[in-house]
């Protein structure tokens, strides 16, 4: 199954996008590129703009997905989000950072709200 990482990542992000839609989020962007890195999913629900970092794993041999969101990656996520907000002229809105962990074996999603704070 694992042909390249990009494909695996996309597969996981699709699962999360489906999960978000099911939970009444509106998907604003996918794979949004900024000079600081890529934002996997930008979603919106009840007045809060949500930036989602997706981590896909088929086993915990190399550590869990949530562990892979290191302090450096958190900083990049926050900087990217700021870039997105300025680019979309939407500074001053409520913002949240979530982490979605996908188990590739059973396609289950562990969704962590408010996972990153500055």
């Amino acid at each position: 199954m694992r042909q390249n990482n990009r494909a695996v990542g996309n597969y996981g992000e699709n699962i999360v996008a489906k999960y978000l839609k099911k939970h009444r989020y509106k998907i604003l962007e996918r794979n949004y590129n900024t000079p600081y890195g890529e934002i996997d999913i930008v979603a919106y629900k009840k007045g809060i703009t949500v930036f989602v970092e997706v981590k896909s794993r088929s086993s915990d041999v190399y550590g869990t997905g949530r562990e892979a969101v290191t302090a450096t990656k958190q900083r990049h996520l926050v900087r990217s989000a700021e870039y997105y907000l300025v680019a979309n002229n939407s500074y001053g809105v409520a913002v949240r950072f979530d982490v979605a962990e996908v188990n590739l074996l059973d396609q289950s999603v562990t969704y962590i709200e408010d996972a990153v704070r500055m």
């Binding site: 926050v78 949240r96 704070r117 500055m118």
Partner: protein
């Protein structure tokens, strides 16, 4: 939305009001504390967040700014966790914010929302009451030390949920009940240090009784094993009962130092080891903490083996011994702490310890003795009112089955003498005993008849006494007269007081 919570901070022994403003607005989920907060306050972020989440409250998905006003004084400690949490709840409308402004709120939060005991709350609330505050919310662990504060409704609660319930509905909780001061210190001291177990040493015990009755400094000189330390250890058991004012002064200092367990029920007895640093005695550090001499305020500072303390350390005691206060100046702040302590010190007269003994032979050379005694400076010894030689115990005295006078009996006499002093000095602020009398009081209360003043004049010339020693002899004589329950000082009181200047007579001649 903006909310405001009232709290208190400390500058030395004085509290000052702090307004904690919490502003929550849209934007990146940041958390900032401004207003010169120290590391413990900055860390409150994590405690507050966990405490809110674990008690079913929403932590806002928004930018949070906390301002501790006035913004130009340094704030320290963990006591602002609770007011910050209440501020966040009020700013996010999870709490009716109309009642919040009526309270002074203080407390540290644990991750599950329990309120933890904090230091320095007693002086803060005393200042708050003086400045017109009427209600306060504090941790349950601090309730005991606050039960003597009159004119204030203090609610001691155990967790965050109780705080929100109280702010919503005041009827559910009762404020801490006011307690009345009971001055008796009976049964407070452990029995093994009782005076009745000290065999012989009648002169030393008499001197100790005088010293304790008037709060005078005393130095015990004698060979090893004579019972100097035992005598000093028995001092707490004969100390006079505390008045409420004295207890409050002690409690304030110990509340800041974090050594207050419940409220004060006895006079402090501090015995720092001779390796203690000068700063640990006087107080200091970057935050100007109180030192041993302030922790011994209204009690006893016991320095065992006095010449073993570094000279520099002992010399720092000179000024507080005279003034009864110590001003600790550091870059962050300058604080004046009270330090009216009674100094009890013990020492050997020479390196081998037997110089001046009636039974043992001293093996030291004259220069050795001189060197040993010169570790103590003249100015320091001058500040010690009673120098008492404690000789080895006689075998006959040691063998006797008969117990000496018990501490309870001695304490009764001390209490009588002390209450005469308190009554006499009741109009003078911060002076509770003869030893702390100033020049004006000495002039007023230590009048001598002709015979007494003649004796004092002769001794003054013969012993080359200093003006300070003169004043101290008068004060000791006053205490001896008080123990005698005499209105006036007579010649035998002066004679006995002079008797206790043995260092002037014997060792420094």
């Amino acid at each position: 939305m903006l909310s405001k919570v009232y709290s208190y901070g400390l500058k030395g022994l004085e509290g000052y009001p702090i307004e904690i403003e919490v502003d929550i607005h849209h934007g990146m989920p940041t958390y900032d504390i401004v207003g010169l907060a120290d590391a413990a306050i900055k860390e409150s972020k994590e405690r507050v967040r966990s405490a809110l989440k674990n008690n079913g409250f929403q932590y806002p998905v928004a930018a949070t700014v906390v301002n501790l006003a006035p913004a130009d004084t340094k704030k320290e400690g963990s006591c602002y966790d609770l007011p910050i949490a209440v501020g966040i709840l009020a700013a996010t409308s999870q709490l009716a914010s109309t009642t919040v402004k009526d309270y002074i709120i203080l407390g540290e939060l644990s991750l599950n929302g329990e309120l933890r005991k904090i230091n320095g709350i007693l002086p803060m609330l005393i200042s708050a009451r003086q400045q017109g505050a009427t209600k306060a919310i504090v941790p349950l662990g601090n309730a005991e030390e606050l039960q003597y504060i009159e004119g204030m409704q203090i609610y001691a609660l155990s967790n965050l949920v109780e705080v929100t319930q109280l702010l919503g509905n005041t009827e559910k909780y009762q404020p801490v009940a006011l307690k009345h001061w009971n001055s008796s210190t009976d049964n407070v001291y452990s029995a093994d240090c009782d005076m009745k177990y000290i065999k012989g040493q009648f002169a030393a015990k008499r001197a100790m009784e005088i010293a304790v009755a008037g709060g005078h400094n005393i130095l015990l000189i004698g060979p090893p094993g004579a019972g100097k330390t035992m005598l000093a250890r028995a001092v707490p058991s004969i100390m006079p009962d505390l008045t409420f004012d004295e207890a409050l002064e002690i409690a304030k200092i110990h509340s800041i130092a974090g050594t207050l367990d419940g409220f004060v029920d006895r006079r402090p007895f501090r015995s720092p080891h001779h390796t203690a640093s000068a700063v640990s005695l006087t107080g200091g550090g970057s935050k100007s903490r109180p030192g041993e001499i302030s922790l011994a305020h209204n009690g006893v500072l016991f320095l065992d083996e006095l010449p073993e303390y570094p000279r520099h350390t002992l010399e720092t005691l000179r000024q507080p011994l005279e003034d009864g206060v110590i001003t600790v100046a550091r870059s962050a702040l300058t604080v004046t702490y009270p330090a009216n302590f009674m100094l009890v010190a013990s020492m050997n007269p020479c390196p081998c310890g037997n110089y001046g003994s009636s039974t043992q032979v001293c093996k030291c050379s004259a220069s050795q003795i001189h060197n040993y005694l010169s570790k103590l400076s003249g100015p320091l010894l001058d500040r010690i009112d009673l120098h008492v030689e404690v000789d080895s115990v006689d075998y006959k005295d040691l063998q006797t089955e008969q117990l000496s006078e018990s501490s309870d009996t001695v304490r009764q006499r001390v209490n009588v003498a002390r209450s005469i002093q308190t009554q006499r000095l009741k109009d003078v602020a911060h002076i509770h005993c003869n030893a702390h009398m100033g020049n004006a009081e000495i002039k007023k209360y230590c009048k001598l008849d002709n015979r007494s003043s003649q004796l004092l004049e002769d001794s003054f010339r013969k012993l080359n006494l200093s003006a300070r020693a003169y004043n101290r002899i008068l004060k000791v004589a006053r205490t001896i007269a008080d123990l005698d329950q005499q209105q006036d000082i007579s010649v035998q009181h002066i004679a006995e007081a002079l008797q206790y200047r043995s260092l002037d007579r014997k060792y420094r001649a």
